[in-house]
Amino acid sequence: MNRRTILKSLSGLLAAGCGAVVGIPGVRYLIGTVRRHGGGGEIVQRVIRLNELKVGQPFRVVVTGQRRDAWTVYARETIGRVWLVRRAPDKNSPDEGRVEAFTAVCPHLGCLVKLDDGNRFMCPCHKAAWTFDGKMVSDEALTYKNVSPRDLDSLDCRIVKDAQSGEAWVEVKYRKFELGVSQKVPRA
């Protein structure tokens, strides 16, 4: 190994060191941005009085809460929309019947699911459709391909009595799910 080779390697090493000083934290910084998640977690909230819901008629309510957008925290904002469907009383729930809740986020690409004219939930973006039970409507019934990867995401939901007024309220456990996959996976 002659002097010139040593000098060349030394230059290369020093250059690599300088590159690393900027490069390594730079890559960490960029990865940090990719890894950052928001909107995870659950929020339990009373959304509506039970007697405002008609049996069999879906009703859309909003879930409000704290929303974090990078550095800003909004104390109280609409963070989600939920379709509620009240079922008629049966032998499992003799008094008031039960309420089912579905998040209004389309599992395909996240558009807001609406009610179509008939008796279906429908996403306005690609016309994916679900029954009031949250089940995907078959391609045959639709006469076109239903693009939804899965049924509407159901949410835990129960009826609670207000301690003071004694009124029955609908309480929803709201959370978000990963989009575009056939399994219902809670978002981190």
């Binding site: 030394l10 230059s11 020093l14 910084y29 990865i31 800003t72």
Partner: protein
């Protein structure tokens, strides 16, 4: 790989511009001093790379700039990247100065290298402006105050000044547009212009070669003989920058807020301009801000011409003279300014205050919630920050707020109780001590000094003849004091209040019973209003709000009872007419009660326990 490179090379000649140093020969041998050029170029690259990374997060607006920078500080690697960006800008300026001195002494401006000299000189003030436009981007108090003053300096330039200032500031006052304009200059226009100048600069150096000194060695290839020197200097420089970035981090002062005072100073490298302006006041100021810098730049630009006129020896001494004068002037002015500020106690106090504010706002922001109004709102709604400011303006004419060491806010004319520790046990125990009640810390300088309360306490004290009776009485008063203090519901005393619930209950009984406080005061439904303040909820948030809003309220000091305390928010129908808004009132009260977002509430309470 080799094939791909050949394919690319045939079409672009990339081998030639990817490895230009390979074939370059260096007549006269390698030298350490040559490395200023290469090091400067690489530092510009570091600035561009770290700057690009910061651009991925930074958001220029007065509500989001500080918050986004604080966010960067909490992103992995972000703090270090920002530190590199910050300290590299300083290193860039130092190296630029060194480089300039070197090429001036070596007379590198001689034909055919005039263009290298001219582009370099033109880039110099632009690099300075480049750093100056970067400093206010986090929208800190210091940064925004700096750009405000710099705007006014620009405005003092004849003819184009006012227009240039409005273009820079984006209106009359600093704000959103100032930040977007600075951002545009910092990451858009200046990089383009400086980049263009540097391109010509470097291209000309390639074309004409380095200025070779006499007495050098034989011709050697640039790579690796000179490269290893360049890389060593760069590595050492980056090591220093990296160390600074790692240990000290880039500074982040409190977010700008027009309500918070600040005495701006330029960065250290521009202090000489600040000092220079002291000697040129009034209409002469423009000499310091525009005249002298322009003159210097013109002199430098004219160097190739001047050099031709001079004999070689004269030229040499002229160059040495210029460098010596500039260095002396810069050092002298900078030191003069630093010394002056060092002896300026008022300025030092604002520095300390600034550091406290910065630490406080970081503490609040680290807690994780910056409201949509921006980080400045954290301090605006913080009792610990606003309390002393409001107290000084509105209360400190009469009231002091001094702790047992005598530190805090001293009243201009102390003539009302010292409100430090108001309603704490210590405060009320002393209040019920007749020797202290009419002393300067309490009602000694008010008309209540020989009121019924003082005589009542003194009577009780003279009743106690034997030491046993005295001890028993003191114990009773202590219980009453604790009971009264518990009425305030101070968060800092919550544990103590819960712990001593039995003694507090006894104190309450003594209040309405044996000691007959309710003969004059009202307390929890007993006694009448009008002759003395209501003791129910004494010192609580509600009680204090009522007291400060209107001391003449029947539950406070109605009629003749009130000495000189003004009503600060008596008009409930026209809140605008009041001296203090509801928000300000709340901030003062929360501060007096020691209630703000803090890490250690209980630590405070332990010092207040008697």
């Amino acid at each position: 790989m080799r094939n791909l490179l050949s394919w690319l090379d045939e079409r672009t000649d990339c081998r030639q511009w990817l490895f230009p140093v390979r074939r370059r020969m260096l007549p006269g041998g390698p030298r350490w001093e040559y490395s200023t050029a290469s090091c400067l170029l690489w530092l510009v690259v570091v600035e561009v790379v770290t700057g690009f990374l910061l651009m991925a997060t930074y958001s220029p607006s007065t509500t989001s700039a500080w918050a986004s920078v604080h966010f960067i500080e909490h992103t992995p690697g972000g703090s270090f990247i920002r530190g590199l960006h910050h300290y590299t800008s300083h290193a860039l300026l130092i190296l630029t100065a060194l480089h300039l001195v070197r090429v001036l002494l070596r007379a590198s401006f001689r034909p055919p290298r005039e263009l290298i000299w001219i582009t370099g000189l033109l880039a110099l003030p632009l690099v300075l402006v480049w750093t100056v436009t970067g400093n206010p981007l986090p929208a800190t108090i210091k940064g925004m105050a700096q750009i405000d003053v710099e705007g006014h300096i620009i405005a003092s330039t004849p003819l184009i000044g006012p227009i240039a200032q409005r273009l820079l500031i984006g209106g009359d006052d600093v704000g959103h547009l100032t930040l977007t304009h600075l951002y545009f200059l910092h990451v858009g226009l200046l990089p383009l212009v400086v980049g263009g100048l540097l391109y010509i600069h470097v291209q000309q150096v390639r074309r004409h070669g380095l200025t070779v000194q006499d007495g050098g060695g034989a011709e050697v290839p640039y790579w690796p003989d000179q490269s290893v020197r360049n890389m060593t200097v760069l590595a050492l420089t980056l090591a220093v920058i990296g160390g600074l970035a790692w240990y000290y981090k880039a500074p982040l002062d409190a977010p700008a807020d027009s309500q918070l005072p600040h005495t701006p100073r330029p960065e250290w490298y521009l202090l000489f301009m600040f000092e220079l302006r002291r000697y040129f006041t009034g209409p002469w100021e423009v000499v310091a801000t525009v005249g002298i810098p322009t003159l210097l730049l013109s002199l430098m630009l004219a160097m190739p011409v001047l050099d031709r006129w001079c004999a070689p020896r004269t030229g040499h001494w002229l160059r040495v003279g210029i460098v010596g004068c500039l260095l002396c002037a810069w050092t002298g002015l900078t030191v003069a300014s630093l010394v002056r500020d060092h002896h300026d106690h008022e300025y030092q106090a604002t520095l300390t205050q600034g550091e406290l504010l910065a630490a406080r706002v970081r503490e609040l922001a680290d807690d994780g919630s910056i409201p949509p109004e921006g980080a400045a709102a954290l301090l605006r709604d913080d009792p610990l920050t606003q309390g002393p400011l409001l107290f000084t303006v509105h209360c400190a004419a009469c009231h002091s707020h001094l702790d047992f060491r005598g530190e805090g806010i001293r009243a201009k004319n102390p003539s009302a109780p010292n409100l430090n520790g108001f309603a704490t046990r210590r405060w009320i125990v002393d209040l019920l001590d007749p020797a202290k009640l009419d002393g300067p810390q309490y009602f000694g300088q008010t008309k209540l000094v020989d009121g019924d309360m003082t005589s009542f306490l003194k009577e009780h004290l003279t009743d106690a003849k034997t030491p046993q009776q005295k001890t028993a009485l003191d114990d009773k008063f202590r219980k009453i004091a604790w009971a009264l203090s518990a009425e305030a519901g101070l968060a800092a005393q919550a544990t103590a209040d819960r712990h001593d619930a039995a003694e507090i209950a006894e104190g309450r009984k003594l209040l309405v019973g044996e000691l007959g406080c309710t003969d004059c005061h009202r307390f929890r439904g007993q006694g009448d209003l009008g002759s003395a303040p209501d003791l129910t909820d004494y010192g609580s948030r509600r009680w204090l709000l009522r007291m400060i809003a209107n001391p003449l309220d029947e539950r406070c000091y109605p009629g003749e009872l009130n000495d000189r305390m003004p009503a600060f928010a008596a008009d409930t129908e026209h809140p605008d007419a009041n001296t203090l808004s509801e928000r300000e009132l709340g901030l003062i009260v929360d501060w007096l009660r020691g209630e703000w977002l803090a890490v250690q509430h209980e630590a405070v309470s332990s010092t207040h326990r008697p």
